[in-house]
């Protein structure tokens, strides 16, 4: 088992990377420390208390919760968290969070919202994988992370499903307009 907490020279320092939505529901979560976050129940309970502590303050910030240093940053309807060991230099964690946010932001073309993030789920998973490997910080340069993970940025929005959905919503809005014109 990797040593997250006691050994000061251990490289394992990221206990988890979590993205929640504006209601505190999990969008993506990747936990590395199985001592602290062994079961889904523990994870969800932690996310709940984490969200209740951080949702009021919308800017970028830091909080210490249950012996875990949590850095977070929010945008529109998403909350990005990096959960680190308390012995880790907070600036390392800060760099990790910044990298995560920036990389996601580049991939989503600055449109950091839940809908866009869910559509690019595979790329987001790759980004998280490139930033952290089993708890070791792999890379904190957002540009490098994007290069290594965002391989098909063009295709994201034009998969089968999204085209048909696009069409459907178009028909629906046309329908509505038609109704309104009748009512007038």
């Amino acid at each position: 088992m990797a040593d997250f907490d006691t050994n000061p020279t251990s490289l394992y320092s990221i206990k988890g990377i979590v993205i929640l939505d504006q209601d505190g529901n999990r969008v993506v979560a990747k936990y590395y420390d199985r001592n602290t976050f062994g079961t889904v129940k523990e994870q969800k309970a932690f996310e709940k208390s984490l969200f209740s502590k951080t949702s009021r303050n919308t800017s970028a910030d830091i909080v210490l919760l249950d012996g875990v240093t949590c850095l977070y940053r929010s945008n529109v309807d998403l909350y990005f968290y990096v959960l680190g060991s308390t012995r880790e230099n907070e600036l390392f964690l800060d760099a990790t969070l910044t990298c995560l946010y920036d990389a996601v932001s580049v991939v989503l073309r600055k449109n950091v919202e839940k809908k866009a993030l869910v559509d690019a789920m595979d790329t987001v998973m790759l980004i998280i994988d490139e930033i952290c490997d089993e708890g070791i910080i792999m890379e904190t340069d957002a540009q490098a992370v994007v290069q290594r993970s965002a391989l098909k940025s063009d295709e994201v929005s034009f998969s089968d499903q999204s085209v048909s959905q696009l069409g459907f919503s178009f028909i629906e809005s046309a329908n509505k307009q038609f109704k309104w014109s009748l009512l007038k």
Partner: protein, 884 residues
Amino acid sequence: MSGAPKTKGAQSSRMKTNKKDEESGGNVYAHLDKTSVLQECRAFNETPINIKKCTHSLTKLIYIIQQGEPIGRTEATEAFFGVTKLWQSKDVNLRRMIYLAVKELAEVSDDVIIVTSSLTKDMTGREDLYRAAAIRALCKITDTGMLQTIERYMKQAIVDRNSAISSSAIASSIHLMRKSSEVVRRWANEVQEAVSSDNHMVQYHSLALLYQIRANDRLAVNKLVQKFSKNALRSPYAVCYLIRIATRCLVDDDQPDSSVFTFIESCLRHKSEMVVYEAARAIVSLPQTTPSEIQPAITALQMCCTSPKAAVRFAAVRTLNKVAMAHPNAVMSCNVDLEKFITDSNRSIATLAITTLLKTGAESSVERLMQQISGFVNEISDEFKIVVVDAIRSLCSRYPRKHTVMMPFLAKMLRNDGSYDYKKAIVETIIAIIEENPDAKVAGLAHLCEFIEDCEHDNLSTRVLHLLGREAPKTPNPSSYIRFIYNRVILESTKVRAAAVTALAKFGAQCSDLRPSIQVLLKRCLLDSDDEVRDRATFYLKMLTEASESLIHNFILDGLQVSPSGLELKILDYLRSQTYSSPFDLRTVPVTQQALSQPEKRVPQLVEEEEKPKAPKVEPYAAQLAAIPQFAALGPVFKSSARIALTESIAEYTVHMIKHTFANAMVLQFECKNTMNDQLLLDVSVELEDPDGEWETKDTIIIEKLPYGEVHSAYSLLEFPDSGAIAGSLGAILKFKVMDVDPTSGEPDSDDTYDQTYVLEEVDVNVSDSVQSVAKTAFASAWEALGDDATREETFQLSTVENIPDAVKKVSEILGLVPCERSDRVPEGKTQHTVYLSGVFRGGYDVLSKATVAIDPSDNSIAMNIIIKSNEPLVSDLVISAVV
């Protein structure tokens, strides 16, 4: 259009998904069903591969595993084999998702090693984007045996020019260090080469791996630090890591190299904020630093306090908070900066700042700070509330007069909602204040009484009831507390009711005027529904109505002062012997210093105090001694002394002694360690010689073989001399035979041995070895209860000590008695002080002592009058002999 019905069907299903989308807030992944996802994964087996569909299904599969969906071994294996089919596709994105899937499935699926060759091919291929990820996936599924086959590729990858590949290989090696460290160690040269890489992360990872490879070799680590501290590393991460290694060196080394410290200090002027903070944090965490060494680090932290980044401010304040414990004066210079943080929008920072100020601030600012805290205490997490409570506790012991401000504040916090740990911290703080400060007692007890009126934690209720039983009878108006306690008997759970009955009995025992009313209350408890409560009530009622004062005292107030494990052992022995003609003798049970009911003291701690392994508390040697048949006849151990070194710590052979006292004998345990790697010691024993000829060694146990680096124990059995002496000093010589061995293999060079001796320090046997310190909760009544026939008194001058606290400490050490009722705390500026000491002499005789120490202001000479009482004249004589 091929047909309208089809479109309609598609539409309705789309509507369904849309509806589902709305429920889950637009997240299609939120409510994935495992079965349907696995169903979708069947598409992997189709040819040709539909890339988009497969990528999407694969993403879902990875997603459900990552989010913790339990997945069976067969299901996982089936999915895994599906994934392997996807290797046919050349799509880059799909391939990357395959690697992710392999890593996620590695632990839940069987036969993952079948993809080794595919991964090896990708790892050595031309596509850089594949290579890095393939290395990590491969290392995840490989085992030690397989690792050797890819060793060559790993070595190449470590020094690859592409930073992603190099980093991946090194990070994977760090994971592998845990299971196949032997193989990874062989890559040290490549790793060392990677340290000189231009890439920041590669440098950081490789330095860390290099250190882990060499961590066991202190010399090599020192060299590593020396080398890299001179030629500057480019990566701030690597520099931070080097600081961590350097700190380790400084902490572990007995004679640390001053250049290492100079290096850390020089990092305070590094251009990266990250490194500056790391260095400052390292310096303040070092043990034994002088104020002048710490000052530059504090200044650096002060600079960090002004950073616009919340993380930096938080880090700086958290570190300052920690330093404030050890060096409050050094942090004082930051007070102005910390004051600014009180209103910081980040509550964590504000709390840390205030608690730091509470530790360093002046008495006058306490009220203002408390005001500030109470403004937002409800908004912060319980963890931080505990930090605040601990700060208040340390403040109270520094400024005892401020309890009038603190007590109401704590009481208010106690009334608010909170977790058990939080409530516990508050209750403990109030208890600590009551114990330290007699002026706060009445107010504190009143708050606690109010607390137990409405307390959902049984543990805390019983704690408070115990305290009430002990402290409240000594207050001016004890009867006012009885109502609170009796209410508990009516309303609470069994555990609390039982504790309340005991507390009532203690009132009855100590306040004779209340005794009749207590008896009435206890009579009512006889009808309780639980038998434990009834038993207690019956017992106490009987004691209070019929027993003598001394019995009441022994059985109600003091409780059992025996070691639980010892008691269990003795009772088992008694039951096994099957002879019940004589009653069980409690005096044969070894006593302990702490009464059974005494709760463990919680040390106030900061948020993330490192967990220290708890020292084994309960007779660590009892089991060792019990295993030796020669000592079985001696009975239970009465007392074991601390470890005493009989040699210098750097000697060739080190010996530590532990004295075990039995009822009529002593066993000296010698823990011997051989630090010579070219010698094997045989037949090791310690020979004792008493110049006065009183003590004689009755039995010895030798160590037959003592190889290099191991610790074994030799024993000597001494009986207490017939002359009645219980003190003495004996010469000790370590005797052994030496056999020369080969330092590397440990094999003997030849069978030749030669005798050798080694003179040890003298072994002292003292009176205190025969006395176990056992505190009395009510000293005065215990003193009265002992008769006057075995009282000895002595007055003498003390020349070796300079002040009263030292004298008090010395006398309790010499006698082996423990101060009661906190009488060892000498108020400052007093010229006379009386300390109450108590203990138990071997064989179970109580020994009490009153020692009055006075200092003559004219020439600072110290005089002491000591009175010793016990229930056996001979014991008093022996104990007093220790001081004259």
